[in-house]
Symmetry: C2
Subunit: 378 residues, 2 copies
């Protein structure tokens, strides 16, 4: 694996050719344009970097996590820093090539859902004005809400459909983000929705940040990303409750997800409750945690005993029938672990309401084997 | 890794020499005898096999686990089978070489604790009579109770000290166990304590076995091992409650143990409760599970915040001071993850009561890093 970079990495155009020769990149045609994508980390270049018509779109880097807020801030920031809400959705980079507005997922694949819904997510005329003035900009955004086709969303914070929140701007071929204040100003000018700013904080007084996080926690938000004004290390810190929400979401997959998915969230939740002065909630959350871990799996067992497979139902809205097909194909594409099964498609006058089920093959097969009495050497 | 064998594997003497040349085996002197031990799986020979004075002691094989009792029995047994209680302790093989009674652990190391306590665990005169009559026998036994130096024991089933339960007999160089009935008869004749027999059951009527398992569950027992009368696949099945007991024991190690340690136990517990007609207990156990997962880790955090390391206190009894030293050295020997620290040693007229603490370095270091605000890319 490539050593993790703390900034957006933009390979040189000729590096895509080398990656292509080594099958680390793929070449596709999108919107009539030639499109390269790094499928995997390769010689220091990260998966998800994209090149289209000679424009290199940097990969969106991982953000380091801190488990202890105050100590993490002391390590990361000497100067005042910004905190913005961390939105719990999927990450998408949006840019313009020729006339086309192109949204790509974290792994660098064109996202058929975002492409279809872009006019609902933001004012595309305003976005085009932004790209007219700054043609080399890349919007980095989160799309969140119950209509998210990629992940389950139990919390009502962003409504039944989806919303977009821009949280960064990059430029073609440049290995840095725009400074926070500059980005916020630019996006406000063009009326592009962006992630809520919690404030500007100093390491010497974190009380207001703690209060902001407790408010986010009570609202079901995921957490915060702390950013220096310009370049430098950024860190994320999540609210206590989101950990439990994630466990509730995925407890049916106890035989599929790495066990650390669950244990690390317990660790984070306990550490955050202690640091944010919420120890009194430990007992109450213990009951909810145990209930989630037991009932989620119990439900999966019920499903399999009734002849079903372990799965999850999604209901999303799309403007075009062709997007429904493209999304279903995209979700099941080359997946060795997931089957995607359409259940219904209904036109409501403005959108198709598409209902589909993601089937988790590994969980389903393992459960069937175990219920069938298969002996396991563990 | 070697393909897992379902029977005891006894390498040929010359294979130990080959393994030694490849550093897969080690050669030591024990009790004045030359002792070879397979340190790792090697060319189909399993870790833990031992050779002493030309006698080959087979490795004790893994026992397959079934998560579903009735279906597992249907897969494993056509004919009636025996069920014996599975004792929750450490596995030891005991044999005689010359005058010496030698106990070795699962990994083939001479166990200083068992060697010291053997006269307390069984009648060594009777054992010598058994070996006089059958010099090539190898006793396979579990040593369990609160005085177990290898693992924490929360349940009182076997008292404050330790007890030994023989559950198999093998012979030097032979790749099979003695048939169950023959073994039970031989051990009874020589008054060697053995694991309780639950009964002989048929796949066509598992109600009595289910009742026996519920009784074991209420008594805090680990479970049952199901064995064909002679050769063939054996399987183990654990009680619902032991899974929760294990989680309570080790919740402080959420950053050290594989996450599957926890999730697989939840899976087993839920499946066993359902199969044994105990669904009504799911809700109550959910509270205990959540409490264990949260409070175990919360306690570890308290320890580390108070400048301590994550650890666990053991109190064991030994007859000789030299055994105390040997045990402490054995526990810390070559361990990259554990420090062993003696806390006290007190002579009570018949035994030393040795108190020591096992320190979990990985958990301690990780917690300190996280509490120190170290950023983590996860």
């Amino acid at each position: 694996m490539t050593r993790i970079k703390r900034y957006p990495v933009a390979p040189q155009p000729e590096q895509f050719q080398a990656a292509l020769a080594a099958r680390a990149a793929e070449r596709r045609s999108e919107d009539g344009y030639v499109f390269y994508r790094l499928r995997t980390d390769f010689h220091g270049m990260p998966r998800g970097a994209v090149m289209m018509e000679g424009h290199v779109v940097p990969a969106y880097p991982s953000v380091a996590r801190v488990f202890a807020l105050a100590a993490g801030v002391r390590q990361a920031f000497r100067e005042p820093f910004y905190a913005e809400e961390k939105i719990d959705g999927y990450n998408v980079r949006i840019f313009r090539v020729g006339e086309a507005l192109v949204p790509v997922t974290r792994s660098g694949v064109v996202c058929p859902f975002t492409r279809d819904r872009l006019p609902d997510l933001l004012d595309t005329q305003a976005l085009n004005s932004l790209f007219d003035a700054h043609p080399d900009l890349v919007l980095c955004a989160e799309v969140a809400g119950k209509g998210n086709p990629y992940m389950p969303t139990l919390i009502d914070r962003w409504g039944e459909d989806v919303q977009l929140f821009c949280f960064d701007l990059m430029r073609f071929g440049e290995q840095r983000f725009l400074p926070v204040a500059e980005r916020r100003t630019v996006l406000e000018r063009y009326d592009i929705p962006q992630t809520p700013l919690l404030g500007r904080y100093s390491r010497d007084d974190l009380t207001p940040l703690g209060e902001a996080l407790l408010r986010l926690d009570s609202e079901g938000a995921e957490g915060a990303v702390l950013k220096p004004p310009a370049d430098g290390l950024r860190v994320k810190y999540v609210t206590p409750s989101i950990n439990l929400t994630d466990i509730v979401s995925d407890a049916a997959l106890e035989l599929e997800l790495p066990g650390e998915f669950f244990t690390h969230r317990i660790v984070r939740m306990v550490m955050a409750l202690r640091e944010l002065g919420q120890r009194a909630r430990l007992d109450g959350l213990a009951g909810e945690l145990g209930e989630a871990l037991i009932q989620g799996f119990n439900q999966a067992l019920d499903d399999v005993e009734h002849g079903e497979r372990v799965g999850r139902t999604f209901r999303v809205r799309l403007r075009h029938a062709s997007s429904c097909d493209a999304l279903l194909a995209h979700l099941g594409y080359r997946s060795s672990t997931i089957d995607v099964v359409e259940q219904s498609r209904r036109w409501d006058g403005s959108h198709y309401e598409l209902t589909f089920r993601k089937i988790f093959r590994k969980s389903s097969d393992r459960l069937r084997t175990l219920l069938g009495g298969g002996p396991v050497f563990d």
